[in-house]
């Protein structure tokens, strides 16, 4: 079902953990649909994400997409991180089965939620960042199975 890259990120997830006193932290998803992702950012004065950690409750795709998402934003500026889309996460993983696409959407949401928290804490406005939607089930384009 899953590509080799997905299995690699599932088996050897990058950046699992927490950050104490994070610059921004966001938790998205809901236990109802079975996927919850939390992302921690440590952002320096130049607005560069110097460290990122994550925790995920969810399936293989959920773990892999959140792991890949942390790799894609680490070392990037806030602006660059905002540009990381779910499509980029999926491509980096060599694709996901159609029924698992919504997991990548959640990973994108987790990045935005952590950035939003950072913006709120520092009373700044990040251009292009809106308050994140928590309930991913509403945003998903997937059909009902």
């Amino acid at each position: 079902m899953y590509s080799e890259k997905v299995m690699d990120h599932f088996n050897n997830p990058r950046n699992v953990g927490e950050i104490e006193n994070p610059s921004g932290v966001g938790t998205v998803g809901n236990a109802k649909c079975g996927d919850i992702m939390r992302m921690y950012f440590d952002i320096d004065e130049q607005g560069v994400i110097r460290d990122v950690k994550f925790k995920t409750f969810g399936c293989g795709a959920a773990v892999a997409t959140s792991s890949m998402a942390t790799e894609l934003v680490k070392g990037k500026t806030v602006k660059e991180a905002l540009e990381v889309t779910n499509k980029a996460v999926m491509e980096a993983l060599d694709g996901l089965p159609p029924v698992k696409v919504h997991c990548s959407l959640l990973a994108e949401e987790a990045i935005h939620a952590a950035l939003w928290d950072y913006a709120q804490k520092n009373h700044i406005v990040i251009e292009g960042l809106k308050e994140p939607v928590n309930d991913i089930a509403e945003k998903s384009e997937d059909e009902e199975y």
């Binding site: 927490e18 079975g34 939390r38 925790k55 409750f57 009902e144």
Partner: protein, 393 residues
Amino acid sequence: MDNLIYLDNAATTRVSEEVLNEMLPFFRETYSNPSAVYRFAGESKKAVDHARKRAAELIGANVEEIYFTGGGSESDNWALKAVAEAYSFKGKHIITSKIEHHAILHTCEYLEKQGYEVTYLDVDEEGKISLEELKAAIRPDTILISIMAANNEIGTIEPIAEIGKIAHENGVLFHTDAVQAYGHIPINVDDMNIDMLSASGHKFNGPKGIGILYIRKGVKIRSFIHGGAQERSRRAGTSNVPGIVGFGKAAQIAGETMEERVAKETALRDHLMERVLAEVPYVKLNGHRTDRLPNNVNFCFRFIEGESLLILLDQLGVCASSGSACTSGSLDPSHVLLAIGLPHEIAHGSLRITLSEETTLEDIDFVADELKKIVGRLRGMSPLYEDFVKKQK
């Protein structure tokens, strides 16, 4: 596959060697259509009759009451739809339970669209229906009660004899989906007042693509498949002789070895249950502790998700299943786990292990050892576990 530890026998079972050997001649040696006139057809016809007899014996039925079908789902569809049609003069109300297999539930939904009313009985936290609720649900226009003999996910065995008695006393037909129970636990259609019963070959070491519907003599029922005269013209189609022979042989073996197998599987099942409940924190057993299928274990592990569990088990060669949403492809976890009152996030962390007579003690101990590690690893990655630990401090 090397080092395969197959623990998903509720999904399907391996055909046993004796069953396969019994089936093989009917592909290339005695391959005739049993309905034909010539002598060559004699062997096939005899074999079908013999298999039917074995299938009937396992549940104390008469030979004329056994109809071969294409499987459990077909038998369920036939039982419900044909009774609904045949008894619509009497009424249009059906009673079933919330934890039935989808072959029953979706057929009930279909019948509701045709103007039938269906009552779906609740179950308690262990998955049992309430006999009081059943009695209260029966109406003058009730034509059928369909309750499964044992649940495929949580293993709970329903009080079939008591249900049959209530149905009989109220003049209502009683059908049971015995797909997980037939061949595994003793069933007697007379003692238990069963009017119709579905079973499936591939759930007890027979082949896939063959099942039976037992229909008590005297029950009005429409034909399901029109065409030739097979199965007394009620289920036409050239007999699947190898499949039928396989079913019959598997039924015979199941009957002969049942006591011994039940004892062995129950011991292994209980050992796994005891080890996991004692050694893994925040775990819950689903289903009734003792009124459960001898080979079924079902746990919920808090703070983690089922598909991840299955992937890690799979990498060790262990095949099992889960009731999480991710494994079913829908947004909801299993309807059975929700029906027994589990909150979604707990239901997502479910694991079902179903043994076979090939499962060994070493397999069970290996699984228990590895589960501990796997659960620990997944909890280390879980935001839910993180929050829980912080709250404890």
